[in-house]
């Protein structure tokens, strides 16, 4: 993880608390953000640090089964 990795994680943790965001993962310079609905994806405002590529994945809501 680049040196600004901790700051990025903080940003993503904050994002995770928003309605409609289901999770995230950082894979090298790629950030995968999981969203519960299409509307949540549209409403998402996330500007990643330079050098990162962001991919949104609609996963739905994760529920204990």
């Amino acid at each position: 993880m680049p040196c600004n990795g901790r700051k990025l994680k903080k940003q993503l943790d904050k994002l995770l608390k928003q309605d409609g965001v289901a999770g995230y993962a950082i894979q090298g310079n790629k950030i995968k953000i999981f969203v519960e609905t299409d509307d949540a994806a549209k409403a998402l405002k996330f500007i990643a640090a330079e050098g990162y590529e962001v991919e949104l994945i609609k996963t739905g809501k994760f529920e204990a089964l």
């Binding site: 993503l12 289901a22 993962a25 894979q27 995968k32 999981f34 994760f62 204990a64 089964l65």
Partner: protein, 256 residues
């Protein structure tokens, strides 16, 4: 007679209906060894074995599938990994909080430990003599296989895995993310989990507790390796906790 995962089964193994008397039904992960005392124990999710340690009865099948106490009891909840545990405070902070906690309420709450695992174990105590706890897991046709090996659950990106669950049986999936942080809903509240594995694959309510295996060949087989325990999902995805946390936090190991 055809095998059904939701029936009362005399030979218990992973992949069949189970649940505490307080819930509906989930899946038995399988037979494990309690590393703290060497006892053989039943393992599933905490939210499947939910209750009071030393008191709550574990039923097979789970209550939703007709299991009831005392006849269908197969165990008693032994322990679980608590969610959202608070980090231990240093001695000096404990003193300050004992004196001024009324004023420093938020600071004294401390930060939370990350959640890695939704799991619990139960002492195997069958109510009737016709039951036995066997190693391995059931496949859809009722045959039981006994994979011997385990892997930590790390480094699974892009790999093929399969699970055996009460509701959707054996389903194969592909790991989308080998280490994710996700929000999981338990009724109307959510809990954050870190370092869990996200899989593109099928699951439904009642599959919680399914053992998850790293697939070596093209079909589920005894060469496959236990890599985790399923606990959550959404249409088209399931999420599992890594096997290493069963060893490190619940202190149990797979007993083939």
């Amino acid at each position: 007679m055809a095998f059904s995962r939701t029936d009362r089964v005399s030979k218990l193994a992973g992949g069949i209906s189970i649940g505490s008397e307080e819930i509906t039904a989930g899946t038995l992960t399988g037979r494990f060894i309690d590393k703290t005392d060497g006892q053989i124990v039943l393992v599933s999710n905490w939210h499947v074995f939910e209750g009071k340690p030393g008191e709550t009865k574990i039923l097979q099948p789970g209550p939703y599938d007709g299991g009831s106490a005392p006849n269908d009891m197969v165990g008693i909840l032994k322990r679980y990994v608590e969610l959202d545990r608070r980090k231990k405070m240093p001695w000096w902070k404990r003193i300050i909080c004992a004196l001024f906690g009324w004023f420093l309420e938020e600071w004294c709450l401390g930060s939370k430990e990350p959640n890695h695992l939704d799991a619990a174990c139960a002492e195997y105590v069958p109510a009737t003599e016709d039951r036995s706890l066997l190693p391995g897991i059931y496949l859809d046709d009722g045959t039981r296989i006994v994979p011997q090996e385990t892997v930590s659950g790390d480094g699974l990106d892009g790999k093929k895995v399969w699970k055996s669950g009460r509701t959707t049986g054996v389903t194969v999936g592909k790991v989308e993310v080998g280490s994710a942080k996700v929000k999981v809903w338990y009724g109307d509240r959510w809990v954050l989990f870190e370092d869990v594995v996200l899989v593109r694959g099928e699951c439904k309510g009642g599959d919680s507790g399914s053992p998850v295996f790293l697939m070596i060949g093209d079909e589920p087989s005894e060469n496959d390796k236990l890599c985790g325990i399923l606990f959550a999902g959404s249409p088209g995805f399931f999420v599992f906790c890594k096997y290493k946390y069963l060893e490190d936090e619940l202190k149990v190991s797979w007993a083939p």
